[in-house]
Each structure stands twice: as C-alpha cells, then as structure tokens.
C-alpha cells in the first residue's frame, strides 16, 4: 500500500491528502453537530463533490455530471440541507479545481457553480410555493424549472466570464449536454421518490452521454494532432519557415472570430492555415520547392491531395486559393492575410506594424481589404496576438534549434 502511494506523483499525493483532510474535517464537524444525520450530510456532500469533478467534454468546454445531482437535490432535500450539502461539496472541490485548472480558472469555475447552485436553490423554494402537489409529475415540473434556472445561470456566466481555453459560447453547442443533464436530474428525482436505491440507475444514461462526448473530443484532438504532424513535414523539409503553419493558424482563427464566422469555418481555416504548404509533399524532391517559382501550382497540388481525402475537400479549395490570383470569399481572404502576415513577421513582433502596412498596400479586392482592416483592428485591440502566435510555433523552432545544437 505504502509503495503504491509512493509511486503516485507528488501533486496527486498532495491533492489526495487535502481531499482526505477536508473529508475528515467535514465528517467530524457535521457528526459532532448533528450526529448520524450530520454524517449522512457529509457523505452526501462528498458524493456531490466527486460528481462535480467528473466532467463531460462538451463542445462548449467541460461540463460536470454533478450538475444533475445538485439539481435533483434542490427538489429532494429541504432548503437548509441543500445549501449545507452543496456548500460543503463546493468547498471540498476547491483544491482539486485549483490543481486541475490553475488558480484563476479554478476559482472562476467555483464562482459559476456557487451562483448557479444558489439560484437553483432559490428557484426550488419558489417552485415549492407555486406547485405544492407531491405527485411525481409535479415533482418533475419543479425539478425541471429549478434545473432550467441552474443551467441558464451557468450558461450566462460561461458567456460573461469565459475560461481562457474555452471556445466561444454558442447555444446550439450547449443545449444537448444541458438537456441531458436536465433529463438525468428529472429521472434521478422521480426514481429516488419511487425507491431511493433506484436513483443510482438514473445516472446511467448520463454516463452514456459522457462516454459519447468524450470519445468525440478525444477523436477530434487526435485528428488535430495528425493535421499538426502533417503540417510539420514541409517545415522539416526546409521549404517553409518552422512554425509557420501553427502561427498562421493563430492569426486565421483570430481573424475568423473577429469577422464572426461560424465554428465550422474557424475550424476549416485553422486546418487550411496549417496545411497550406502540404502540396510540397507530393513533389519528388521537396528540396525542389525552394527553387519553385510557380506557387500556384504548389497550391493546386496541395488542394488536390486534400480533396482526395474527401473530408478535407473544402479545406483543399481554400488551400488552392491561398496563392491564387483573386480572392473570392471571406474565408480565402482570411487565409491569404493570415499566412501572408506570418511570412512577413515570422518570430519578430517588431515587424508586425510594417507587415500590416505592406499587407494593406497589397490588397486589391474588397474581401482582402476588409480582412486587412480586421487584422489592423485585432492588432490595435489585442497586440499580444503576435506573441501568442509566436509562442504556438515556438515548440517547433526550439526543437529544431536544440536538434541543430545536438548535432553540433
């Protein structure tokens, strides 16, 4: 046992110790104050805390499964019990949240959960006054209303105080997981009222939802990593600057978001920015590309190989347009501006202003001119975007530099 504990990373051991301490303190305090009832409350608090730390990887970011438990509790427990249990659960999650997401992001999540729980508790009290019947369908109505308040507050707070890594909040992405949570809370409530042991079964459909979303998130990540690996090839071959794909992707995403393009469009542009030099891999000798003047042909080769995959056909069209003569869509303009800007700036933020002027000067069509204006706005409002882009490409350039050093 001791060996098993020693083998755990130090951070995990500290976390386990803190959680154990919180658990022991809760049990002692509540047990002392309220006897067996207190111990039950402490155990319930631990259960809610654990469930809040199990998350679904939804398109809007991670969503805790424990929301369903909190919502059901608002209907099943009296108001004081609800606030004691949820309050205890939130306190216990603090060290884990801070360890997992960092200080700021962890506390931001805690604040969101606290406010949503408080609003949900209030809504449950109000619903009990409005709908007094003990019939299961009425219980379902009450829990739905309290749940809607909880999830509504959560969504509003997600929009107002987004976490740094979270994608922009869109209702269309949020509702499937949230409605599943509401169903799970409803099922849990009526199952518990029927027979308490049945409540355990009510979470199974939610686990199924978690399984499906987590697989999707993992697959998406794997695909993104494959694209990243492929985008490195022309850079490794020395035909395009190291980190150019990654940096261009940062600029393309920033431009697309500023232009209000859809999530699909943002994703497509990021992929196109990473793969816009992929045509080089079809050449017999990638070294030839250094002397290749016909950039349109290379873009066409890239477009052709991406179209061959079928799924990246739309990305292929964008890639073809990157060195094309005219720009026929906003997306194509974004890609041209993003890749062109990075070619000029590379890893030197001081060149950003000059690059912007040159880009502005070069634009001959309305889409390009509009995208260049948006780039100017981004650089005015968020000049750190250049640093972020350089940082995203840095692992590649650093690795290459380390490799050069090791080879002497």
């Amino acid at each position: 046992m001791k060996e098993a504990i020693d083998r755990l990373p130090r951070g995990t051991r500290r976390l386990a110790a803190e959680a154990f301490l919180a658990l022991a303190v809760s049990f002692v305090i509540l047990g002392e104050a309220q006897g067996v009832h207190g111990l039950v409350l402490a155990a319930l608090g631990m259960l809610v805390a654990s469930s809040l730390l199990v998350v679904v990887q939804a398109p809007i970011g991670s969503v805790p499964l424990g929301y369903a438990l909190v919502i059901a509790l608002a209907e099943l427990a009296d108001v004081s019990t609800y606030f004691v249990v949820v309050g205890l659960a939130l306190l216990v999650t603090v060290p884990v949240l801070v360890a997992r997401y960092g200080h700021d992001d962890g506390l931001r999540r805690l604040m969101r959960w606290s406010l949503a729980s408080a609003a949900c508790g209030g809504a449950a009290v109000a619903m009990r006054l409005l709908v007094v019947s003990s019939r299961p369908d009425m219980a379902l109505l009450r829990v739905s209303a309290a749940g809607a308040v909880f999830l509504g507050v959560d969504l509003v707070l997600r929009t107002l105080f987004p976490t740094p890594t979270a994608p922009p909040m869109r209702f269309g992405d949020a509702w499937p997981v949230h409605i599943s949570l509401l169903c799970a809370a409803g099922l849990l409530t009526v199952a518990y009222q029927h027979d308490p042991w049945m409540a355990a079964l009510a979470l199974i459909p939610l686990v199924l939802v978690k399984f499906a979303y987590d697989r999707y998130a993992a697959a998406k990540d794997a695909y993104r990593q494959t694209i990243k690996a492929l985008s490195i090839v022309p850079e490794v071959a020395g035909v395009t600057p190291l980190g150019h794909g990654e940096r261009s992707a940062v600029y393309a995403v920033a431009l697309a978001r500023q232009l209000g393009l859809s999530n699909d469009s943002v994703e497509r542009l990021a992929t196109a920015a990473r793969l816009h030099h992929i045509g080089y891999v079809t050449l017999d000798d990638p070294e030839d590309a250094r002397h290749h003047d016909n950039r349109i042909l290379l873009a066409q080769l890239g477009g052709a190989i991406l179209r061959e995959t079928e799924f990246l056909a739309d990305v292929g069209e964008l890639v073809e347009s990157v060195h094309g003569g005219g720009v026929e869509s906003r997306e194509a303009a974004v890609l041209q501006i993003a890749t062109g800007f990075d070619h000029l700036v590379l890893e030197d933020p001081a060149r950003a202003i000059g690059a912007l002027q040159l880009i502005n000067f070069r634009q001959r069509d309305p889409y390009g001119a509009a995208a260049a204006l948006v780039l100017r706005r981004i650089l005015d409002e968020d000049p750190e975007v250049v640093e972020r882009a350089i940082a995203s490409g840095a692992p590649l350039t650093e690795a290459a530099a380390a490799s050069e050093v090791s080879r002497g």
């Binding site: 299961p136 369908d137 379902l140 499937p176 997981v177 409605i179 599943s180 169903c183 799970a184 099922l187 009526v190 199952a191 029927h194 027979d195 042991w197 049945m198 079964l201 009510a202 199974i204 459909p205 939610l206 199924l208 939802v209 399984f211 499906a212 979303y213 697989r215 999707y216 697959a219 998406k220 794997a222 695909y223 990593q225 494959t226 694209i227 990243k228 690996a229 492929l230 490195i232 090839v233 022309p234 850079e235 490794v236 071959a237 891999v281 017999d284 000798d285 990638p286 190989i305 995959t309 799924f311 990246l312 692992p395 590649l396 690795a399 290459a400 380390a402 490799s403 090791s406 080879r407």
Partner: protein
Amino acid sequence: MRPGRWIVVLPGWWYEVACGVAGTALLVALILRGPWPDLVGLAVFTGLLLVAENAQVLVRDDAGMSPAFMIVMASIAGFGAHGAILGSAIVGFSAGFTIDTFKRRRYTAAFFNTGQYLLGSAAAAAAYSALSRIGGTAPAFLGAVLVFGVLNTGLVLVQVVLNYGQPARDVWADMRPEVPNYFAFGLVGALVGVLYTSLGAIALPLLIIPAVIARKAFASFLELREAHDATVRVFIRTIEAKDRYTAGHTERVAKYALYIGEQLRLSGPEREHLRYAALLHDVGKLAVPRRILNKPGRLTEDEYAIVQRHNQVCVDILTRVDFMRSMVGTASDQHAHYAVDEARERDRLVQEAHIVAVADAFDAMTSTRSYRRALAQDVAFAELRDKAGTQFNPECVEALIRAIEKRGEQYGLGFEETEVEFEVTPPVVGVGSAGLGDLVPPRGTGS
C-alpha cells in the same frame, strides 16, 4: 457466406430457423393463454423498439449495442403483473424486424432474432414476476436482466459459432466486454418501466432524449474517425508513392501493432491511438527526396546525412506533438530501444513506441527491401527474441509471436503479400533492421 439471388444462407440456418420456430410456438401458446397487457403500452413499447432497433445506439468501438434489450426490460416492468409475459414477448418479437437484416436478405437471421428475443423476453418477464412477489423490486430487476442476458448471449453465441466457425471461446471473448453494458442498460430499462407505471408516457423522454443525444454524439465521433482515416490513408498513399519498395508497409505495421495491442489487452481507445501512431510512424519520409528513398544499395555520405537530418529533426519536433509522441520511439533508435525503467514503463506512449518498434522491425524483416530479400518468419521470430530485453520489449515480442501463431498466419519469405519489382535484384543477406549475420536463411528457402 454464399450470397444467393433471393436469400443469403449461412451454415447455421437450421439453428436460426429452429429458434424462430420455438419463439413463434411460444408466442402462439401465450396468445391462447392470455392475459393481454394494456394495448396502449404495448403499442408504445413496440413502436419504440422498432424505431430504436433501426437506429442503433452504438456504445462501443465497432460493436452495436442494441437498445432493444433496454426497451424489452422497460416493457416487462411497465406492464406490471398484468400481461407482462405476453406483452414483453410481443415487444421482443418485433426486435427481429430490422431494415438492415432484410436489406442483406438474411431472412433466417431475422426469424432467429424474433425467436431469440421472444424467448428471452418471456423468460425474463416470468423471472421478474416471480421474483417481485418473493423478494421485491431489486431482486426482480436483477433476476430479469440476468435471465435475459444469459439466454440472449447463449443463443447468439451458438449462432455465431455455427455460422462463422469461430471457436466458442473466441466468440465469448468478443462478447464478454458487452456484459456490463447489458446489466447497465437492462437495469435502466427496468427503472423507466417502473416509472412508466406511475408517471405514464412522460417517463419515456427522460431516457429517450439522452439516448438520442448520445447517439448523435457517437455518430459525430464515427464520422470524425472516418475523416481521420481517410486523411491518413491519402498521406500513406503519398508516402508509398515516394517509396514504392515499402508498399503496404504502414498498413502491415498497423496490423501487427494491433495484434500486439490485442494480446496486451489494450482498451478500445488505446488501440485506436496505437493504430494512428503506427500508420503515421513513417511520416518523416515525406520530407526525404524520392531519389534517396528508392536508391538501391548503399547511400553516399551526403545522402545519408540528408536522411539523418530529416529523421532527427522529425524526431525532435514530434516530441512536441502530443499525439505523435509515441512515433518518436520508433523513429529514433535511442528512444525505441527497450529499457527496464518503471517510470517510463508507466507511460502509455512509451508502451506504444515499444509496440510499434516491434511491429516495424517484424515487417522490415519479413519484407523484401532494396537491400535484402525477405527473411523467413522463423528467422524473424528468432531475431526478435534474440534482441528482446535489449532492443525490443520482451512482452511485445512475445505478444506478436503469440498473436501470429494463434492465427496460424505466415509472413516473410514465400508468403509476401505485396510483390515489388526491383530494378536491381536485392541480395539474400544485407543490412537491415538488425545484425543478421548469423541468422542467414538456410539455402533452398532463399533465392
């Protein structure tokens, strides 16, 4: 399989028909005996089952976990004491009517499904009814799920064994991971059935909505995986177009890696990760000029330097890409070599690297390359075993050998799948993935 014009018949057709007849006979007996359940409930559950069966909720990698079982259990609990056996038997009977089975002209399979579902449903309903009288709801739930699970699994296992000639143990090994799903889905179904008795049809969306959402998310996952596969395939084709002497190499490495992963009991997602890592382990070749890749014989110092430069930079860069990190192990000698290091061993990616290294080496030895003819399988096995513990992870080596021997497959000299015509005939012995000086294939088996 012998596809006919009107009907597809497999060797176990007689068994399928027998189960179908047994089920139909029981249905007739139950109809004559009665009592009938609530007809509205019967229509609701039957309709739900027909819809669900034709839009399977996938819960595992490639296996389709049918929601029919969940709905049958819901109907058993939902009908209560009145007509549950007949009602659930009718609901179960409808499970055989799937568009897919009819499209594939597997009429005996459809008949089998109606029969086996009906037998399982009726037996589970009888168990539920008996146990709820004796021990209450909890034992009734468990008993019904158990009876249905045993009957359904048993009947399907025999069907697969008869139709496809697989050993029963292997079929069971494929089915065993589904057992927890059976229990979970069955119990949820029973819960919704019980709630149906008190809440009515309003209880059903509480189950259906999350199931539909999960299905949609899973469909998106499958679509994304298909896109990923298609992308990887195109780039493999590009690699093989550049290096035509290694045609089929990446696919074979992925196959051997999965053999090892299966023997080491890696989970579904881990095997998937391993597959992509294996498929892309040669991605660095895209950066190497074709003339060097295809050059017969030794490389000049300059050419070797170009290859090394690309390899080294690839390795260094890929260490920074999370998903591709495991490939580094195979691309770089110093990382791929096996070392007894507990801390690293815990790392899944290192395990992947070891697996891909063994798979890569096995394929390199059993394929003809421009510098050497393919080796016989025994020679390759001996070489892997010889280097196990130093160059290769012994567990991975034994896992690969076990998997290939278990399948009775043969690779290497005389069994090569891909014939490549070389401009210069490769020598029998030459530089390769390992020093093979003392493992030259005996004369007569060679050229």
